[in-house]
Symmetry: C2
Subunit: 235 residues, 2 copies
């Protein structure tokens, strides 16, 4: 009875209001509209989403747990500013986890999933074609999340979500050149390997993809982030 009133036990978070806030802020950070160090005032966000501070606070705490927001006691929440050391850790973790994820994805391959992957590649190409940098950045991250979802491994998926979000901040802070988007071609190659069910090739391509992304970064002195931030803001 009352199957209508009780929402799905595993609601995709889109239903309740705190999730809408969380996803809105997350999207803004992933699309590089909110820069590292930006203050996230509770009243400010609450007014935007028409919610009271209680809900905003909950959302910010979740984001803090995901590592893309820092909460400083009695000072407020700020968009995180990963250090070069953080960056190295994030990419090392991704190099460890993502090859395993593609393995699982290949085990779970199906026509429906291949369609979704293909559709995503098309979206990426389109965004890149029309020069929509924000969409490109977002879609580039979503590709990796899509593969993780495909793997059906919920723990890896959770971990990777965190790593992807942090990667987005890292790329913004430490990217060397203004690379258009990090390897849509690579993504296509990975999908191709998945379609052929070639685990070895898929792992290798994922690994080299991640290596190339990190190679584009400039992770030297810890003062560099200030410079980069000024650079971006001044543009």
């Amino acid at each position: 009875m009352a199957a209508k009133t009780r929402q799905k036990p595993d609601a995709p978070d889109a239903s309740d209001r705190v999730s809408r806030i969380r996803e809105g802020v997350t999207a803004a950070i992933l699309e590089h509209r909110l820069l590292p160090g930006t203050k996230l005032g509770e009243d400010e966000i609450g007014e935007i989403y028409g919610a009271s501070r209680t809900l905003v606070r909950t959302a910010l705490q979740q984001l803090a747990h995901e590592g893309i927001v820092n909460i400083e006691k009695n000072r407020g929440a700020f968009v995180a500013r990963p250090t070069p050391a953080d960056a190295r850790e994030v990419f090392e973790a991704r190099r460890l986890i993502e090859p395993t994820i593609v393995d699982h994805a290949i085990d779970a391959v199906s026509p429906a999933w291949l369609d979704r992957l293909q559709g995503h590649l098309a979206e990426e190409r389109e965004a890149e074609l029309r020069g929509d940098a924000r969409a490109s950045v977002r879609l580039s991250g979503e590709f990796h999340r899509l593969v993780a979802e495909m793997s059906g491994h919920s723990i890896y998926l959770g971990f990777l979500k965190e790593l992807i979000a942090r990667s987005s901040l890292i790329i913004l802070l430490y990217r060397r050149h203004d690379t258009p988007a990090c390897g849509t071609d690579h993504h296509a190659g990975i999908v191709s390997a998945i379609r052929k069910r070639d685990k070895q090739a898929a792992r290798a391509q994922m690994l080299s993809h991640l290596n190339e992304i990190e190679a584009e970064l400039f992770l030297k002195d810890p003062a560099a982030d200030e410079l980069r931030l000024a650079d971006v803001l001044g543009a």
Copy 2:
């Protein structure tokens, strides 16, 4: 300036009240004093820790994010009850991450760390000797966390904290025999390999240690957890 007023940027959480609640509940779960499915009422916990429901709620949300508490909408928080599928995922993730962690730990080895490891082994042996099952379970998990701290890799540490906490629930639910404690000898072997800086041996021992723990589990039909719970409660 004012280095005194500003508390350490990385406070060990012991200072504020919400952390005390979180760690208290976590300890109770890890020591198997709170069984899976137990209702965690906000008033109830708040009264125990002398805190208002606001703080309790924050702590419970953090625990939910760590995967050891389930929050059901309009129903409350409950100690999580991992399914056999969850269990397999957790142990697969541990098999992937922990060998890499010991690698890093060996890179960071120092007399001080070896002392801490040795001291921990002594604690474990002592707890096991006096038959203190609760302390044994807790210390067994803390050993793995200690190695992760030693590795200096904060992301792996965060991930592993989650995995350890969930493992504790899994072992409680699906353990076949009443094994006294899962491999204090194994831990000693791992420490020995770390002392010798033998990465290959350390990785191999960690892997087989995890495999043995999982081999002790009975991860068949999804109804088994009900039986196990009844079994434990009836005792």
